[in-house]
């Protein structure tokens, strides 16, 4: 029987209660979230590079404070360098040498659609594509867990105004598998985005900005026919000035729900039990 699960290779479907606190209204808005997505992960033959593909990932917030994020394709990878990219010698005090291991990799995303409705106003943005270098601040030996920064430009389309813009993103994010059997996962991120060449409008600044914070914990608490069911708890914050007429304030939300994962094979680096 399978006793460990790779949640980075799965087709998942979930739902959560995800109320949002609006500082503008000084009230909680009740809402629900549905999650879907496909995650695929595979290493190269030398195990020096781990590739990740995310397909058809979406979050649909229903109820008050509705919002949708849906990404058709995302591809990124982590790379382990066997030799340092630079060797730094310092001469302040006793000479000391430091090997600089810059784990440079990449991040590509295409066709991500974001829409949000607040105060009777709807803003929608289609990210046609982005290509960004990533720099792993840390990654596990098997490259599955990582903390990284990435930044780069993309090409976007404001679907409300039908105008093209140039979104530039910068993010620090992490995805940690906390135990050998893959039961506990911690994900977090802070992403800033500025939409260049986005024209100003009534009550909307030129080149608006968005900042998103996210912290999520997922734990498998039961498996049904080797398919794990997990509990997901998360907290999020966002700040944006691109919604015309809506005061620019922080918006905080929390979520608690379940996520069912199909496929989810055994982890590559975990033991496989024949019996209990």
């Amino acid at each position: 029987m399978q006793f460990n699960f790779d949640l980075n290779r799965r087709v998942y479907l979930g739902g959560a209660w995800a109320p949002v606190y609006s500082a503008a209204d000084r009230s909680f808005l009740n809402r629900y979230r549905a999650d879907v997505g496909v995650e695929i992960e595979f290493p190269d033959d030398a195990r020096d590079t781990l590739f990740r593909i995310h397909l058809l990932e979406g979050e649909f917030f229903l109820g008050s404070g509705n919002a949708t994020t849906f990404s058709v394709f995302r591809y990124d990878w982590s790379h382990l360098r066997r030799s340092p990219i630079a060797r730094i010698t310092t001469f302040i005090g006793k000479p000391a040498r430091f090997d600089l291991d810059i784990n440079l990799a990449g991040y590509l995303e295409a066709l991500r659609f974001d829409t949000i409705g607040r105060g009777g106003v709807t803003e929608s943005q289609l990210l046609l594509g982005t290509a960004q270098p990533t720099f792993d601040l840390w990654h596990s030996r098997d490259l599955v867990s990582y903390i990284r920064v990435r930044a780069g430009p993309g090409l976007g389309l404001d679907t409300e105004r039908e105008q093209v813009n140039l979104p530039v993103q910068a993010a620090i994010e992490g995805d940690l598998t906390l135990d050998q059997d893959g039961f506990h996962h911690l994900r977090f991120g802070a992403e800033g985005e500025k939409l260049f060449f986005a024209p100003s409008g009534p009550l909307r600044p030129k080149d608006p900005q968005r900042l998103r914070l996210r912290l999520e914990y997922e734990v498998i608490f039961i498996a049904i026919n080797d398919q794990p069911l997990s509990l997901v708890i998360d907290g999020r914050g966002s700040w944006r000035d691109d919604i015309a007429g809506v005061p620019t304030t922080w918006e905080w939300s929390a979520g608690a729900g379940l996520r069912f994962s199909l496929w989810a094979p055994a982890r590559r680096n975990a033991p496989f039990l024949d019996h209990l």
Partner: protein, 295 residues
Amino acid sequence: MLAFALLSAILLSSAPAATDDCLAPQEDGSTFPICFDPGRGLELGAGAAWTPRTTTGAGEGVTLELRAAILLRSGRESHSKRGSLWFFEQRLLTVVAQPFPVLQDFELTAYEGTFRRHLREGFILVPAARPLRLPFPFDVALHAQVGTVERRVFDGPGVRIGVGSAALMIDPIRSTSGRLRLSFGPAMRYDLRTDGTVWVHEISPFTGARLEAVAETDDGWWAARIEGEGGWSAIPGQGAFLHGRAVARLERLVLAVNDQPVWIQAEVRAAYRDAGPYRRTELSGSLALVMRAFQ
């Protein structure tokens, strides 16, 4: 001069011998170099230049300064006169540029070199009927500079062209290393200056003097240098004028990237009726990081 000699003594006394001490061990048994030569390599530098004009001249402030040069330094025993040493110190294609429009400035020097000859016992030979050998406690050195173009955009449309200069110098320190030197002697130079319309020829036929003082630790961690030149130059039909310029530089090795050393360099420059096409009097300085790669 005394202060420079004291500084030289302090720097040299703290230097390890340039042998195996120049390799530091690592935990895995491998080694890495910790000694470098500030007088060799492809020089690339960037830093902040500070230009407070003191008496005359335009422009004032802090701006980015970039510099590049090819540095060659070597020493060898003379092929033709055994027992004497030659020390060569040369700079090729020296470029100093302040690219930003506010204090835009470019200076290119095609070639500059100092050649010093060291004898174990210096002497002056008087070729009398019975040759007379008089003690001469100095090394002799020659400095040459060819092809300088200076364009200070912020100062006006003028250009200065240093056609060439040379100095015959003596050196009382008589070091057997290329890293310690105190040379001074008479100098000549030929400059062309224009304000954009009229060219002016300036000739100094050994009516000036040059000083060079260099002190570096054997490991190259510290380097100090003072260079100065001044005297009277004649402008045909106008007469002579007194002018001079000097630069003092202190460097400390701070790091090496892939064994390419980087020094932090503080420099102070002074000019008396000699800076740029308009013979400005000014004081300026810079603080920069300078890499000398491919040693």
